[in-house]
Symmetry: C2
Subunit: 396 residues, 2 copies
Amino acid sequence: MPDQDSIAPAAPLARRLDGVSSSAIRDLLAITQRPDIISLAGGLPDPSLMPADRISTVVAEALSERTTLQYTATVGTTPLRETIAARAGAHPDAVVVTHGSQQALSLLSQVLLDAPGEGGSDVVVEDPAYTGALQCFDLIGARLHRVPLTADGLDTDALEGMLAAGLRPTVVHTVSTFHNPGGVTLSPRRRRHLADLAERYGFWMIEDNPYADLWYDTPPPAALATYSDRVISLGSTSKILAPTLRVGWMIAPEPVRAAVELVKQSADLCGSTLTQTVAARLLADDGWLEEHLTGLRRVYGERARALSAALAERIPRLSTTHPDGGMFVWGTFTDGTTTSDLLERAVDEGVAFVPGAAFGPAHRSSLRVCFATADPRTLTEGVDRLARAVDASAVR
Amino acid sequence: MPDQDSIAPAAPLARRLDGVSSSAIRDLLAITQRPDIISLAGGLPDPSLMPADRISTVVAEALSERTTLQYTATVGTTPLRETIAARAGAHPDAVVVTHGSQQALSLLSQVLLDAPGEGGSDVVVEDPAYTGALQCFDLIGARLHRVPLTADGLDTDALEGMLAAGLRPTVVHTVSTFHNPGGVTLSPRRRRHLADLAERYGFWMIEDNPYADLWYDTPPPAALATYSDRVISLGSTSKILAPTLRVGWMIAPEPVRAAVELVKQSADLCGSTLTQTVAARLLADDGWLEEHLTGLRRVYGERARALSAALAERIPRLSTTHPDGGMFVWGTFTDGTTTSDLLERAVDEGVAFVPGAAFGPAHRSSLRVCFATADPRTLTEGVDRLARAVDASAVR
């Protein structure tokens, strides 16, 4: 038998993996799979709102073409690239279909960032940040610089200060619209400011944008790509059609796109012709898609309002965002409550959330709640349970 | 507009990408998509032999469960892991489902190999080698060491000599069974020898094994994993069910498996619940699967024999392998013909193959032909055209 040392992962990777896994929170959240727990911890869309019958019908049609069974191009099928480009006002050649937008983040990290042994790269992330992006940047060994998120999104004035002080990032990553976990949206003024900074200091913006179609009352501001050529835009079908398709995409200028294609070829040869065909047909069916999205917007909007109202009424010490779209509310206790401690008590009461520390070390008094998979009555019950956990913590 | 320099990929990656792309051959092979060309160049299975109706039925059934639409575990669905483990005689916990076995190669490269700036790693590959593996190892910047392939597979005596001379590889990669492109199979004696060397010198064997089920008359030797614990086994549904499922897998000992899971989480979160459900149901249906595989074996066996016979009769100067399974014949001209030159003339005659140089610099007089997608009559016609190209080259 080989001994443990000799079969461990390569040492530099092992060091980086240490930073990637945050097992304490993960272990606690594993408990939240129990049926008696109302989990507001997940970041999942609601499967009961996904178009199962329509996907099934399109699969049957698509499989009558034998090419649907075969490998496809590394950059994705032509109909899907054309459909994505048309929706984004881009050229189809600029589109690379990816295995969810997570793969786009992973490929971009490999293409744009230098490994530590090669000098390393500086990356600006939001604080709090999307954990999937943090994982990719951590894995490549990038130096992370956190810029606060405010009610108007990434604080571009704070970023400007860091740039003026000498920071030269390769990439600024932003979930510009209906932020995960922050629940906020980058304002048009700040989009312009960020684009100006990118031109001045020569960095890439990665606009990670899976929630933009999930607005409740009014559409979000125009995408960052309308302000600058220095934007790599990421999108996904996971939140609007179904995660099982594993269809995301990147829209990127040519030298980056070409490098991403080569790295993707090595990463997995190509995506699934079948699920890309399904995605293309559903996204191209304007009438059906609009009706489907209208339904999602109505249901998620109701849930967001129910959650916000319950939190405001039952836990006044929690200051929360009031999202205009997406799937998340971010809350911060004004009394310094440590949310990783609160989670234990909350699980005892039968409700779960994600402690803020999962999204950045500064957020020990914050939490993320996802309202996407629960109806208003369940959300209200979940908040009642959370309020009991908060009250019990205060009493102790 | 950003200038070209500032938007180029990170410099160290750009250097490595130079080695990864072999554009001259790729450009020439792009021509072979023309309908008047008989392409023996592709490495694709025949879509007319794939179970489209069966997949369509299983998709419809699977989508009636809402969980099929959702994200799944990073390591894959439990039914699929159990089915793969049962077929391989392994424990389900050791299985990681990947996006084709190409993703397994990519993840293993990241987990096992150090980047050049971190000291780098030595990797042994077969000569000729599977290009998808070469791409992964090149991209991470590994130092490649080529060991000749003979009629009995990887020449383990040659490897032993290199090890005795001081080589200490981290990984030895082998397509042990029905080699791509070599068409040969590692003999039981050499499997034992390779396993002994792995124990003695402490390297990992990656057994890349997508073709093992495609034997024609008799099953191949027992897998490398039956000889040693130092084996990471890769498999795939692409050659036996359909590439569109994008379902491959890795079976690996625990420290490697756990590291692969973390890297895969960053790479793409998880695979498709839908296509994994389809793969699980088809692989677990023993009676159906055996009948389906019997059909594939019969058809591919007929094609292999037709191609071999035609090559032997029409191009006696080409010494070829005579595969017992898989999809490829490897041929070497005994008169020093340069196959990249021959390809141009072959395309003029209406037939294409892959020149040996694509698989290693030593193989300028070799070529790979894939017989999987053409019937015996077409194969014979393709060989006639190739023979005319060879004759024309000789005359010049």
